[in-house]
Amino acid sequence: MINKTVKDAKEAVADIPSGAFLMMGGFGLSGIPENCISALLEKGIKDLTIVSNNAGVDDFGIGLLLKKKMVKKMISSYVGENAEFERQLLSGELEVDLIPQGTLAERVRAGGAGIPAFFTPAGVGTEVAEGKEIREFDGKLYLMERWLRADFSLVKAWKGDTAGNLIFKGTARNFNPMMAAAGKICIAEVEELVPAGELNPNEIHTPGIYVQRIFEGKNYEKRIEQRTVSQAKS
């Protein structure tokens, strides 16, 4: 079985240049490639285009890259609670493509799956439809949307093996599997790296064929954005 292991995040991102087109998995702060983001921060490259559903918060996740002005353009569905993102967006410092979340997921999936374009009803009649082909199928209107593919995709999984097979945990899966497939080079960081053969072939979420580099990450913070609890019943 092909071995995709690299030493660490630094080695994994070593050849990502300024101006690169990147994808990063995660929804909010859940399932983001923490180690790779730190390594990118240290490299200090710039003019990055990043496809990611959100952009972290001011002081964590992609928010850190924004703060350091490393990002030229974000392709996302939700700005949400990131004040710095919203500020750079409204001031025009940052280019932002806002895309419906399902369209974003499907465009990335299409990129990995070799589907250059598809039709979706999301955004018909809205500014998202501007400049796009609109077509009726079976009495309903749809927009044509194009695939998204990246130079590098950075994903985070729970477990992985040396062949690049990945298993995610909980809702930290989100965009990671599609992005893994849509990156020319997919870099996967995992909480636990095991030898090929230790994962059950029937329980793998992302086949190793999509992953070019894999390493075991360190010191995961897994910060929680909205800590909500219910009282224990006695």
Binding site: G28, S77, Y78, G102, A105, V124, R173, P177, M178
Partner: protein
């Protein structure tokens, strides 16, 4: 006038047995608290879960288990996890029966605006555009008027819209209204103590009042 909890409580009556439901952030999230126990329904979280349970107790918090509002949650028995493409395949494919979400404006033909105020506020559409373009039944939960008193039920939306001709029903602090296929808000119920006249006054779009309008009972 209804409290947020009462809006949620009223909307919960729209839920039918066997439904798969997507609840938006804010008031819609509260609806979960009022769905009768005897109904078997499943709540979808568009970040990749069917079967949202209550918020966790402190010792059960898992950063890898959140809802679309980034709140920590739990899973009920029979839950299933999946990726974002699968999640929106469910939504777009019409497998989610009911979507309940908030809005800044709704127009009398069922258009909805809830993602952007040009030059002032851009939070992004998230999954809302996919949801409103796909679900067979879409209910809006919102205040009848904005903080400065302007009606949010309009002839036409003034803000950038999220979807066209999609809203079926609106529950506000003042009333329950249905969007007529021919256009116009059909008044179905009044909040306790709220008159038809007040609702009329606070509805900029065409209000259709037919017969006696019952008062909601809680």
């Amino acid at each position: 006038m209804l409290s947020k909890e009462q809006i949620a409580q009223r909307i919960a009556k729209e839920v039918k047995n066997g439904q798969y439901i997507n609840l938006g952030i804010g008031i819609p999230t509260l609806v979960a608290n009022y769905i009768p126990d005897e109904l078997e329904v499943v709540l979808q979280s568009e970040n990749g879960l069917l079967g949202i349970g209550p918020f966790p107790t402190e010792d059960k918090i898992d950063p890898d288990l959140i809802n679309a509002g980034k709140q920590t949650i739990t899973m009920v028995k029979g839950s299933v996890l999946f990726n974002s493409a699968e999640s929106f395949a469910m939504i777009r494919g019409g497998h989610v029966h009911l979507t309940i979400l908030g809005a800044m404006e709704v127009s009398e033909n069922g258009d909805i605006a809830n993602w952007k105020i040009p030059g002032k506020m851009v939070k992004g559409m998230g999954g809302a555009m996919d949801l409103v373009a796909s679900a067979e039944n879409i209910i809006v939960a919102m205040q009848h008027c904005s903080r400065d008193g302007a009606s949010k039920l309009l002839k036409e939306c003034s803000l950038p819209i999220t979807g066209i001709k999609c809203v079926k029903k609106i529950v506000t602090d003042l009333a329950v209204l249905e969007v007529s296929p021919k256009g116009g808000f059909v008044l179905k119920e009044r909040a306790p103590g709220v008159s038809v006249e007040e609702i009329q006054e606070k509805t900029e779009g065409k209000l259709i009042v037919e017969g006696e309008i019952p008062e909601m009972v809680f």
